[in-house]
Symmetry: C2
Amino acid sequence: MSMHSPRVLIGPEVEPWLRDAVIDGDGILVDDHREAEAIVWRGSDHRRLADLLAEAPDVSWIQLGAAGTDAWAASGLFHDGRVWTSAKGAYSEAVGEHALALTLALLRDLPRFAGAARWLPKSGRMLFDRTVLVLGSEGGIGQELIRLLTPFRVNILSGGRGGISDATTGAPLTLEAALGRADVVVIATALTSETRGLFGPAQFAAMQRTAVLVNIARGAVVDTDALVQALDSGEIAAAALDVTDPEPLPAGHPLWSLENCLVTPHTANTPEMLKPQLARRITENLRRFAAGAPLLGVVDAAKGY
Amino acid sequence: MSMHSPRVLIGPEVEPWLRDAVIDGDGILVDDHREAEAIVWRGSDHRRLADLLAEAPDVSWIQLGAAGTDAWAASGLFHDGRVWTSAKGAYSEAVGEHALALTLALLRDLPRFAGAARWLPKSGRMLFDRTVLVLGSEGGIGQELIRLLTPFRVNILSGGRGGISDATTGAPLTLEAALGRADVVVIATALTSETRGLFGPAQFAAMQRTAVLVNIARGAVVDTDALVQALDSGEIAAAALDVTDPEPLPAGHPLWSLENCLVTPHTANTPEMLKPQLARRITENLRRFAAGAPLLGVVDAAKGY
């Protein structure tokens, strides 16, 4: 790689704030993909990008706008020999914050109070001193959530590719054992063939009846029918979902009518939150690209994220 | 004061966990108030306690169960020459946590999503990097809230008896100027003659239209009619109230029907949360009393808290 200003195509649309981010990173904007060395691509239209790449031999790097790349991994594009970077890690503050907001809302019974038009009997639990299982604890979001949880003196159980362990003692745990100990279970893992459907009837059965589930990762990590059953029967106390399967969750779906389920419409990282964070990532990666330095958020094609 | 085990009356009821706390603190339980040196008193029945105290010349110290003592201050009992301690500071973690839960819920639009039965358009704001005015920042709850807010990189404006200042620069601010800068205003102050009705039409007018108000202190710090007006007209964005005036908030009150108002029924510190925290405080204060050491939570009769 050279120190010259890289020629960058932005797609599928040249949004002004993306253009500014590229210029801030000393990139030169090009309209013709055949002249591009790098592509900044937002959205999920991988077919259109694949068509461009077929005619763009000089493109050695593609920056995607999303942090979760399961849909891209399924396309097979990551195996094309180019460097692909996602925005993983760039949205950790936004999503980690939302995970904490949902956790506190469930423990403090806020959905129930929000729906009431009268002074209900007191209820709610403290987050302080509880045990929190963070699945995906090695990722940016998991790390950020753990940082935000630190002042609450919680016991963290960390789950990642290397298995699950008690963050305090280092002792390894099976998923079943971790689920049995956790007061709060937060799903912050990438969606892969290993995590798809990870939460089914057996996992809900292993959880405490007082435990709550928070999913800010991907809906398909959870078997939705099994979750409905677990919430309806009281096998777990409550769930808060920023992601669902199917997504968007259709009107009339049973999850909407469960009092112990809070659904937010994938707002952990809204477009307004996303833009400044992604702009910073693009600018930083362009500078690194020009300098031949390691890029942030490089996708491991074998893992799919 | 002597090192002997103090003779303690518990009232109005001898709840088992209170008895355990007194015994843990090496207190000797007595049934007859005329034999007592100290009284541990829960609840708000100050007339009944006044009657006991009239016949209890040896009682030099009264431990109350509440952190907020505005109702007791109004009774005049604090001026009786005895040492009065409240539970101020003992519930800081519970109440500070609830204040953060309410703040995040408002910024993340959780009340709106909780009430929906369909996938709404995305909305919500991050707490990160916002400006938070904490009124009552010198108290235990204010201090704890500021600690919990620290990982969010917020700008704190601190308000106490000495006035308001920017916590970063130390620069003094008028209330009006602070309200104009704050994205989030948290009321964590004691209810006194100075703070009663502190928030009225002028204060809501001084706030940003995007700002949110959180009250976990006492309802009467806020002029409720003015708040209804400010929420209804969009003068402020939203409010979350754990305390109200009147309290309990009666069915049919306009606050119940405002979409941008979340009311929790004084659950920042539920009885279940309160018990272990108060027990620790009682035990600690009994040891200090026996040793002649300064007690925790001593009420300043002139201030009323």
